[in-house]
Amino acid sequence: MALLMFAIVCIVLMMGFPVAFTLAGTALLFALLGNWMNAFDLVDFQTAFLNATSSRIFGIMQNETLVAVPLFIFMGLILEKSRVAENLLETMAALFGPLRGGLGFSVILVGTLMAASTGIVGATVVTMGLLSLPTMLKRGYDPAIATGTICASGTLGQIIPPSIVLILLGDVLTNAANKAGSIQTSVGELFAAALLPGLLLVSLYLLYLAFIAFTRPDAMPAIPQEERNARSKKQLLKQVMVALLPPLLLIISVLGSIIGGLAAPTEAASIGAIGSILLAMAQRQFNLDVLKYAMRRTVAITSMVFMILIGATIFSLVFRSFGGEELVTDLLKDLPGSQYTAVFLIMLLMFLLGFVLDFIEITFVVVPIVAPVLLAMGIHPTWLGIMIAINLQTSFLTPPFGFSLFYLRGVAPDEVRTEQMYKGVIPFIGIQILVMASLAIWPQLATWLPGIMFQ
């Protein structure tokens, strides 16, 4: 019955009614059904679990870790409004333009920096698509390579800290670890753990582009000579100081203070928020309208995230009432082979769910159900978190359902064919799988840095 409910919810979700309400509503209809069938002894439905609803929602209201969510969203919105990304991209392009493939490098590097500031799936892909795709095509880039690069760098937002989803994942995994009585984790540890795999991904992306630039020069040409001369070295240096250094410093100080253990994520987020306001002021982009816009959008996006959390909470209470938890535990425990078979299957399931559900939904609905079992088997929570993040990132890149492909399709000109986009992302999917395999072989890639940072 629990699994049937899960399947039905997935089908109902496809109709397009908001996810949070669908999760809660469908589960409650099932609860009614369960209650009725219980009277005839058809299923074992324990209504007692539902009594926890109010205290669970109040628990969400009192959750200290999640206070970082609105703060980081606010910081990202201020940076977005102050046109930091545009300036960055322009500067990077001026810096790397003279190189073959230079524009591609800039997109990946700016994507990495942007990722660290917004962390919301879609936002980065759309921004980068609007800003850089037309330029790349005009310069004669192979459309497949241009679109692949943009899609891939857009999804970096999920893994490069301080991404919002890592905060949510950190919170969910902490609860799961408490439940399983396993090794602990925290948002800070997850941030530290994501750093090396994230940078590894970025370097492999760059390496791949360098390889293409070397073997197929006409696929990613350099900016022509005459345009280069239009800007003197001195001007360029000034531009770099103004556009590149401040956001870089902001992100390094926010991340550094979390990973260095100086500040809690929430505290670092408030520093980042003030820093982004100062930055916007310095770029003369700050005024009352920008502030109001950022504050209101923060309210809306934060509420959206927490509504999914509330919906997922109600869903999982009903799921437990049907005995779904024991069912999943038994299923995973009875698998042949080691605990890694279970991890592999869960990863595969999440990969497929990533085609229909967003990262936030999977974090709140699926992770709380499966993570305690995996952690009780001895899986390291921090490692699991990073694997989930990279896995979902890959899922969002994979044709034909990957989210980032949809987002880019929405803003790409018609002359870019969809097949070209599919072809373009395939090498990046290969890189993703390579990094996941390395993480599976060498878990230290994720666990080493947090291990020495937080003893």
Binding site: M14, G16, F306, G311
Partner: protein
């Protein structure tokens, strides 16, 4: 008549969203004003500077007296932001949908999805939260429940009352949305 009702209901969501938006800025400032003194007061080098030859032990005890109230304040603001913001987010259409199919539907179809969704999924959810929270909130009021932290804010029962206010606001906004979708159907039929 219908238009007036929709506008009235939506303006509740809109105004409350705009109002709590200012809490975002306050949240940033309050979080900073808890974090910075905490950091400075535990930093030997800074204390060693002995600026203005202040009595640090007095300042420290002062800080620790108030820090719990400030931490409670951070939590209150955070909770108020999203509990009041839920209906605002609904009005501005920010609750995410899986739109693979929805996007390509006709306006009529979309209106039907929303109407059925609100009646069958949305209303039950918030009526359920309202019913489940009734006794929970009443209990908090009967003892005027206060903070669990020493020196924290004494208004926990007020904060818990949000569990009743939020579903009511959502039901109002949901009704506005329901009427708006019915209007879409009617207008389509008329034209």
């Amino acid at each position: 008549m219908m238009n007036k009702t929709i506008h009235f209901l939506e303006s509740i969501s809109e105004q409350s969203g705009r109002l709590v938006a200012w809490l975002v800025l306050l949240l940033v400032l309050l979080t900073l004003s808890v974090a910075i003194p905490r950091y400075l007061l535990s930093n030997e080098w800074f204390l060693g500077l002995n600026l203005l030859s202040l009595d640090w032990s007095e300042i420290r005890s002062n800080y620790s007296q108030h820090v719990n109230a400030m931490n409670d304040g951070i939590q209150y603001m955070h909770a108020i932001i999203f509990m009041f913001g839920l209906s605002y987010a609904m009005k501005s259409g920010d609750h995410v949908r899986i739109d693979i199919l929805y996007r390509s539907m006709s306006a009529r179809r979309q209106a039907w999805v929303n109407i059925i969704g609100i009646l069958l999924l949305f209303y039950p959810t918030f009526i359920f939260i309202l019913i489940m929270s009734w006794d929970y909130v009443l209990n908090a009021w009967s003892i005027l429940e206060s903070s669990s932290r020493p020196g924290g804010l004494p208004w926990l029962y007020l904060l818990k009352s949000m569990l009743l206010i939020m579903p009511v606001m959502m039901i109002l906004q949901g009704t506005a949305s329901l009427l708006r979708n019915i209007q879409t159907l009617i207008n389509r039929d008329a034209s």
